[in-house]
């Protein structure tokens, strides 16, 4: 009788160690089923202080900037060399920095007045660019100031180039902030987001100056196709501009 009682107290489920082992086994099963997600999440918290920090990001971005600058300079040199071979129009390197001293970017008149005039070498017909791209052309100069007709002015009509579809068009100012691009063909496949730059065929502007992006397309039953252009350079906020002489 005594022997029976002894045997019954020595069953494995009466031992604490067995249950601990069983618990570990269940945990490992869970780890297996969850494909180690627990460990990965744990590793996330442990390794967090050692992640690549802001400093490393800055170093990489600086390297990227330098890489792009080098590529840009190489492409620019190539572009100048090829243009010389083909005897195409060239953009002058002479630029004059000027501040905007008067701005009429609403109503009927779309013009800005700059603080550099004929005394500083500004000529009528020079082009004015701001951060983003083309703003307009110098229409008149005084000794100390120059007046610029913006590309949003109804007076402005410029030849432009839509690069994706390799087509020339006419950019007409409408007196609002979105000039209209007129393409003299109904079948051109212009799309929203297409990039518009100055045309290589233009007699007023040097080629490849960024202008804007197609914002909306007017699908009317007309022989021409028109699109509204969102300008890259915003004349109503720009305070400093560059005046470039045009050698056309």
């Amino acid at each position: 009788m005594l022997d029976i009682r002894r045997i019954s107290t020595s069953r494995w489920w009466h031992k604490k160690k067995s249950w601990v082992l069983f618990g570990i086994f269940l945990f490992l099963v869970f780890v297996r089923i969850s494909k180690g997600s627990f460990y990965k999440d744990l590793y996330y918290f442990i390794s967090k202080p050692f992640w690549p920090g802001q400093f490393q990001k800055e170093v990489i971005l600086k390297s990227l900037d330098q890489e792009y600058l080098m590529k840009f300079n190489l492409l620019k040199k190539d572009n100048i060399r090829l243009r010389e071979i083909l005897s195409l129009q060239e953009l002058s390197n002479d630029s004059i920095s000027a501040a905007v001293i008067s701005r009429k970017t609403g109503s009927w008149w779309r013009q800005i007045i700059l603080n550099k005039g004929s005394k500083d070498g500004v000529e009528i017909g020079s082009i004015v660019i701001g951060p983003g791209g083309l703003l307009g052309r110098v229409s008149s100069t005084s000794l100390l100031t120059s007046s610029v007709t913006l590309i949003t002015s109804p007076e402005s009509k410029l030849g432009v180039w839509v690069d994706r579809i390799q087509t020339n068009g006419l950019l007409v100012g409408l007196g609002d902030n979105y000039p209209s691009l007129i393409l003299y063909s109904k079948d051109v496949d212009i799309k929203i987001g297409d990039f518009v730059s100055s045309s290589p065929a233009s007699t007023l502007l040097p080629p490849n100056i960024p202008i804007g992006v197609v914002q909306t397309i007017d699908e009317q039953l007309k022989p021409t196709k028109t699109a509204k252009i969102s300008l890259l350079a915003k004349p109503h906020v720009i305070d400093w501009v560059q005046i470039l002489k045009v050698n056309i």
């Binding site: 009429k104 007076e155 021409t224």
Partner: protein, 172 residues
Amino acid sequence: MNKFFERKLSLISFIFIPIIFLWHPNWLGLLGVQPYWPLFWLLPWAMINGPFNGLIFGLFLGIILDSLTLDNNFTQIPGLILCGILFGKIKFNSNVLVRHFRYGLICSFGSFLCGNLYFLQILIKNFSDSTFLLFIPSFKNILAEVFLTGFYAPFICSQLFRMFKFSKRKLQ
């Protein structure tokens, strides 16, 4: 010196019209459009000095403002001359409130007239152009200008009116 300024107050303020026209303070504008500044000066001037003076100074204002804008094909002179004559024929009203309200209405009408005359010139010039797309921006310009001119006129015109009357009294 002070007497000189008091007497010539109206003419001195005339010089500031092109300056404010060039200044183009955006914070006073609506949709990028400004009130039509010359009317604020022309209304009290023409009301005090009559239609002939209104015509002459409307012409002067038009010449100055045209020289400041780059649109060589269009002019503001006809609108300002017409406004000068019309404003000169307006009689004073004794009620202060009505007078202020009238300034707003008259300037709004003047701005509407000038805006439409300017738009008419653009329309005539581009009559044969099949790609003429200027209608909606032009209506926006006219409406915003009419609203703003009418809104500011009671404040500015009444002050200028008082100043001009004061300097005229000093002259007599």
